[in-house]
């Protein structure tokens, strides 16, 4: 069986694409899957630091594409998981150094050996985005409950549909339940109403995420992190498992809290 190629993209920058890609990679590896992460953000290499692998880079994606090294030589093995690899982006080149057909070729070389190949897309809708989605069997669109991020996500969905890659599935990142309850943040239901695509994950805003990237250990590996649980749930959904959406309420979760959530509409997601 061939690997499933999944691209993580967003349109807008800073919504958590790289964090999502890193965490899904680790979470899938934890489930015993063979995974390769590809940093397709050429010129703005980041997945390596988030994964804590920046010191091991010798060759990069552009070296592979331009034939300066074998594919295997550019694949960095994760410290903790033997079946998790990273192909880093080149830092000193730009998006035009690779083409969509290069990415399809790369993915095809890896398909037989792996269960999942995850591409981390750059922000934007230009060449870098096209490269990142070229090989995708499935696209995950990361967005935040904010007007600018949702609008950009919609644009991305439109582009994916135009390339017959759509509509993709949505990851709503940085959700703050208390703000939703106050009516100060779009709920998951609001966002799926607006975008009309399937939701695959809701990730709460979580103060453990930044320390995790500070130390290069994705938050998925932190058992106490709520964001980590959310990423692990998405990974399980990617393997075909049905996992209910987690309760995002931070407090005790008693009757009144549930009632309050019900009024806020935040947990009534019709896609859950």
């Amino acid at each position: 069986m061939g690997a499933k190629v999944i691209t993580v993209t967003s349109g807008k920058g800073g919504v958590g694409k790289t964090t999502t890609a890193a965490n899904l990679g680790v979470a899938l590896a934890r489930l015993g899957k063979k995974v390769t992460l590809v940093d397709a953000d050429i010129g703005l290499r980041n997945l390596d630091v988030v994964m804590g692998l920046e010191n091991r880079i010798v060759y990069d994606l552009v070296d592979v594409v331009e034939g300066r090294c074998k594919l295997r030589q550019a694949m960095i093995k994760h410290k903790q998981f033997d079946d998790l690899y990273l192909i880093p982006a080149a830092q000193t080149r730009d998006k035009s150094a690779v083409s969509p057909s290069d990415m399809i070729e790369l993915a095809d070389k890896l398909r037989d050996e792996f269960d999942f190949i995850l591409f981390d897309s750059p922000a934007g809708i230009e060449r870098g985005f096209r490269n990142a989605v070229a090989a995708a069997d499935e696209v995950l669109i990361v967005t935040n409950p904010e007007v600018s991020a949702v609008r950009d996500a919609d644009r991305i969905i439109g582009l994916l549909e135009a390339e017959n890659k759509g509509p993709g599935q949505l990851i709503l990142n940085r959700v703050k339940m208390d703000m939703i309850r106050r009516g100060d943040m779009l709920s998951a239901e609001d966002v799926t109403d607006i975008l009309a695509i399937r939701l695959i994950g809701i990730v709460p805003e979580d103060e453990t995420v930044i320390p995790a990237s500070n130390s290069g250990v994705p938050v998925t590996l932190n058992e106490n992190s709520r964001a980590g649980v959310a990423f692990r749930n998405i990974a399980r959904r990617l393997t075909g498992e049905t996992v209910p959406f987690m309760q995002l309420d931070e407090s005790s979760g008693g009757f009144f809290n549930r009632l309050a959530q019900w009024f806020a509409g935040g947990q009534n997601n019709r896609n859950s």
Binding site: R182, L186, F263
Partner: protein
């Protein structure tokens, strides 16, 4: 818990920022998706009305032309263009001219040659000749 009361306290005030975010997004995205900014849509509406008005009298104040999203890829232009209740009749130009601006219900109900607009009117007027078969 506090959120629960916040909801109630906010009820009476202006609408929540999340609600306006949703409405604003829905408005802007429908225009984004078909690549037709609101200004151009307005222009188009005026042109459509100008063309239709060449052939029939339109109740301009009741016209509703708007973009609507059914599903992600089913955006449509929904136009509700009621005819003016008084119709210009060639052989009674004087009477028609008097009625052109009469839009009140009482003024038009008496006219048998008025093209019925609402379904009840169609059903009520037996002598009405419509191109739609009357539901029996």
């Amino acid at each position: 818990m506090s959120g629960f009361f916040d909801r109630f306290l906010n009820r009476g005030k202006e609408q929540s920022s999340a609600k306006s975010a949703k409405e604003r997004l829905q408005f802007v995205l429908i225009h984004d998706r078909i690549n037709l900014p609101p200004e151009r849509l307005q222009q188009m509406k005026e042109e459509i009305l100008a063309v239709i008005s060449k052939y029939v009298d339109v109740a301009a104040e009741d016209v509703d032309i708007a973009l609507e999203q059914r599903e992600r890829n089913r955006n449509m232009l929904i136009a509700e263009i009621p005819f003016s209740k008084s119709r210009k009749v060639e052989d009674s130009a004087g009477a028609a001219a008097d009625n052109t601006n009469a839009h009140t219900a009482s003024a038009t109900d008496d006219q048998h040659d008025t093209r019925a607009e609402s379904p009840e009117d169609e059903a009520a007027s037996d002598d009405e000749t419509t191109d739609k078969p009357a539901s029996q």
